[in-house]
Symmetry: D2
Subunit: 316 residues, 4 copies
Amino acid sequence: MAGTKFAYVRNFELPDPLLPDTYLVCRLDGHSFHRFSDEHGFAKPNDERALQLMDHAAKSAMIEFKDIMLAFGESDEFSFLFRKSTNLYNRRHSKILTTLTSYFTSCYVLYWSQYFPDTPLRYPPSFDGRIIVYPTERAIRDYFSWRQADTHINNLYNTTFWALIQKGGQTTTEAHATLRGTVSATKHEMLFSRFGINYNEISQRFKKGSVIVREIVAPESSDKGENLEPSMHLTRSEVNKTREESPERSGVPDPPTSIPPHSPSTDQCETPPFDPLRQKRFKSKKKNKLETTVEVLHCDIIGDEFWLARPHLLEN
Amino acid sequence: MAGTKFAYVRNFELPDPLLPDTYLVCRLDGHSFHRFSDEHGFAKPNDERALQLMDHAAKSAMIEFKDIMLAFGESDEFSFLFRKSTNLYNRRHSKILTTLTSYFTSCYVLYWSQYFPDTPLRYPPSFDGRIIVYPTERAIRDYFSWRQADTHINNLYNTTFWALIQKGGQTTTEAHATLRGTVSATKHEMLFSRFGINYNEISQRFKKGSVIVREIVAPESSDKGENLEPSMHLTRSEVNKTREESPERSGVPDPPTSIPPHSPSTDQCETPPFDPLRQKRFKSKKKNKLETTVEVLHCDIIGDEFWLARPHLLEN
Amino acid sequence: MAGTKFAYVRNFELPDPLLPDTYLVCRLDGHSFHRFSDEHGFAKPNDERALQLMDHAAKSAMIEFKDIMLAFGESDEFSFLFRKSTNLYNRRHSKILTTLTSYFTSCYVLYWSQYFPDTPLRYPPSFDGRIIVYPTERAIRDYFSWRQADTHINNLYNTTFWALIQKGGQTTTEAHATLRGTVSATKHEMLFSRFGINYNEISQRFKKGSVIVREIVAPESSDKGENLEPSMHLTRSEVNKTREESPERSGVPDPPTSIPPHSPSTDQCETPPFDPLRQKRFKSKKKNKLETTVEVLHCDIIGDEFWLARPHLLEN
Amino acid sequence: MAGTKFAYVRNFELPDPLLPDTYLVCRLDGHSFHRFSDEHGFAKPNDERALQLMDHAAKSAMIEFKDIMLAFGESDEFSFLFRKSTNLYNRRHSKILTTLTSYFTSCYVLYWSQYFPDTPLRYPPSFDGRIIVYPTERAIRDYFSWRQADTHINNLYNTTFWALIQKGGQTTTEAHATLRGTVSATKHEMLFSRFGINYNEISQRFKKGSVIVREIVAPESSDKGENLEPSMHLTRSEVNKTREESPERSGVPDPPTSIPPHSPSTDQCETPPFDPLRQKRFKSKKKNKLETTVEVLHCDIIGDEFWLARPHLLEN
């Protein structure tokens, strides 16, 4: 930048480092997505395509930002967990926050047509973001429990609400009135007895949200892993190559194959068998740039199992 | 959000209000745009299409955020000036910063194909952003002078640099060496004598950057204004209507007509004749939601003329 | 500090610069001074000695910190104005805030016995402090108006309240009830008709608070000035010398002569005759370290007169 | 405060909460104490009286602020550890920082004459302060290790430096030159062979600094404890009563009896025998306002023993 007599204005740019050795959570929220979902014809109570697009953007962000260990998404929001030792951009607050928000937004718009091939974007969607600093493992566990509990509560409410409207013929005002003050059990019962919906059989994606997790690739099994789930191992250059070859580029929308389809295997929390060497290997290979993959799951993260199987997420 | 036992984690979300009654400048910078411009075949030293796309995104942001009074862009960066009395999002730092960064990014990706109809995006472009708080008019004037002086210095260097390469057959290393230590006059002379380029005749857009300014529509002339430059008066709903009707929506890229083409009229700083009533009208109409338009200019903003003609920009 | 393996903990010390080119106001408040004034037998509604001690501490702070241009005190609080261009401690927030708070506290305790020779301190008094950043002259004017208006309102209330108790025989509960909902005129009337007190004749110190101002010494009159008011021109070493010679040091409390006694001359706002050269001289002598003095006044600072006579306070 | 038209200036007072659930360390440093110690004739390399006064002020602060669990002092600095769950002043940064800084300063001046009965203060001493937020136990352990290692290094240097001057007849310049580049062992040897000083026999206070720790009073032994060390159990009202009766108040300086004299018992880290019930009792009594005392020690805090014996300090 120019060394002119005006350059003193840079002195007003104040430093904004985030406290070292703390977990950083960046949560993005869709801006006015109530209107956005209406204008773009999102299915109610959940639009599978919209959720897959969110997952795609989040997963892309995790491939781009290696220090994000975990992300959790529901509806139009996504939370990203940076490992506590991250030194990304020297932990500058605005730089981390805006780069991630911008990248996620960019993916959302760029990949939109893969998920909504017949619905062009009517106007630019946007997201706001914030970074929250958490000092302890306990707070991180509770943060993600808070979001997943929220997913559950919202989804049960919305599922019943829209059943009352779509199948029960109620207005939105009537449906809210019907639900006022009801507890979970009442909603379950209402869904089953009035509409024949067994809530337990509803897609895990809707009930649990999306858990995108950085997994460590065991060296001896990495080939196998790539064979099974090639999309998980894309490096940056491969991602680009894939995109180049994609028919989407010639104007025909690409089916969203790069995100594994909703399948029973990801409905369960795929906890790998306990491996006492996992953590040690993690540390010992640190200098060798440990190979990782990014997986999309729809599993419980409130209980201990998910976390015990992945001690690297919190750098225990 | 759920009122669960986990909700205490919200206590870690700390307030981040920006100092009241100060100018806010938000500067966005393209992330790794050196590589991005290479991969997408940007013309050197300046790519008109890329600059128009930046302008389009910036102008859209100003239509969306009414408290942005002025923006200045060059290359892959844009600076936005919020009026000092803005109370957007209660002046919450992260909220303002991310919403604007995200919206700009979204526009950039969404409108890309209008400017690069034959060049699909190979990967998601992104921007970082920062907000700088300025307490005085003087500092704001100097901030924008700083950026425009930078534009001039960079453009003169780059114009000469690429002439040496494209017309002079030098390598990049040789061109840098040729230019090392040269002053402006030498570069001007080099351009003219060796390559027949009169730097003064180069497009104002390249030499001055893009000045996007919120202008006040004089009540009596507002109809005329709309007739002359319809794109300036788009309200949000009109913007959407326009988009709906756009052929772009049916898959065929739209020529970038919504941004006025580079023309002599905008090459000059269109300072309106001095109007002593302008400022008074501005204030007296405040409650009536003064009608404004957003104009793209390529004019000098270092001197006083631009600012004296638009006292509302700094709320004198 | 030691270059040991533990020194990394310094990385947790984050920078905290205050925005450049803004006014800094540091306000100190006595901590639990309601109790403190009770335990040390302060006169009600105003204790002249206690106020003089506060002034002494504030004036000492202004002699120590040359960038404080003005201070205003009432009751157990004092506000200090740093000039907007101050670069004290590189404008580090905690450093400025704590050094001033500590110095003021130190003076308060050290000079206590000069004002309360027969009342030893029963426990350590303390003050809390905060720094508020103000971007404009207008806000600074309004800040000091806010404090002086507060002084007036509190003093009128307290004067009437204590008259009702001390002369009217009411309990505190009764006195509060008597005053509930009364306007200024009613209190004036009550004071005069029931207790023969003409509020206008009450000491300016109580009605206006203490205004401690850095005045510029006119070069040609500086000798005269020193002769007239020696205490204003004390340099650091002179201050120390004076203290050494003071009888206080041999155990006998010193009468508080170093603060000019409450006198008619300071009851009026001593606005010097308008001097068109004052400001110019201020600037032209900047490099020569302009000589200043620190004066204690009890005058109006809400109107323009005080400020117009002292343009250097706000660096107009 | 007055509800006047000026009260809007309060909007410039921005919130400054510290991150919840983190350790807060507040470190105070004497301001220009090199000069202060010269002007007040401090003994070199260590002045026992000055250190005892620092300890007295720090201990008083810990009696006043119940959430300070530990303090460490050396020379003219003191670091205070607030427990991570403290909600003092709603964790407002400036409020905590200034109140503690002011209280410490006030104690230092108020108790000065107890330690320097023949040396009146020549000018007001002051301290600056800062708060550092630490997220982990590890960082807290390392912080205090850092300070104690610093104490050791400085004391060994200063002890040798002043021996060279006071006993070796060197100038300060010569002494610095003599020590340049020497390691610890060399200094030990120099002290012993040239001056007959066995560094190991030097007072623990000088070598280890002052460790002021909040200890939990075991319920069954609290009477005994009070008998042995009455000064440790002073409540606020008792402190005041003591002060009132103190002969110091009648002008005759009080010998510093309220701080236990330097004795062998405090030279050792008085680790109580391991008690498996200690931690449980701590928690179970939380609601009953656990009784604590504040002890001054001069012991190692780099090793584990000190911390293992006091799990309540870090709320393990």
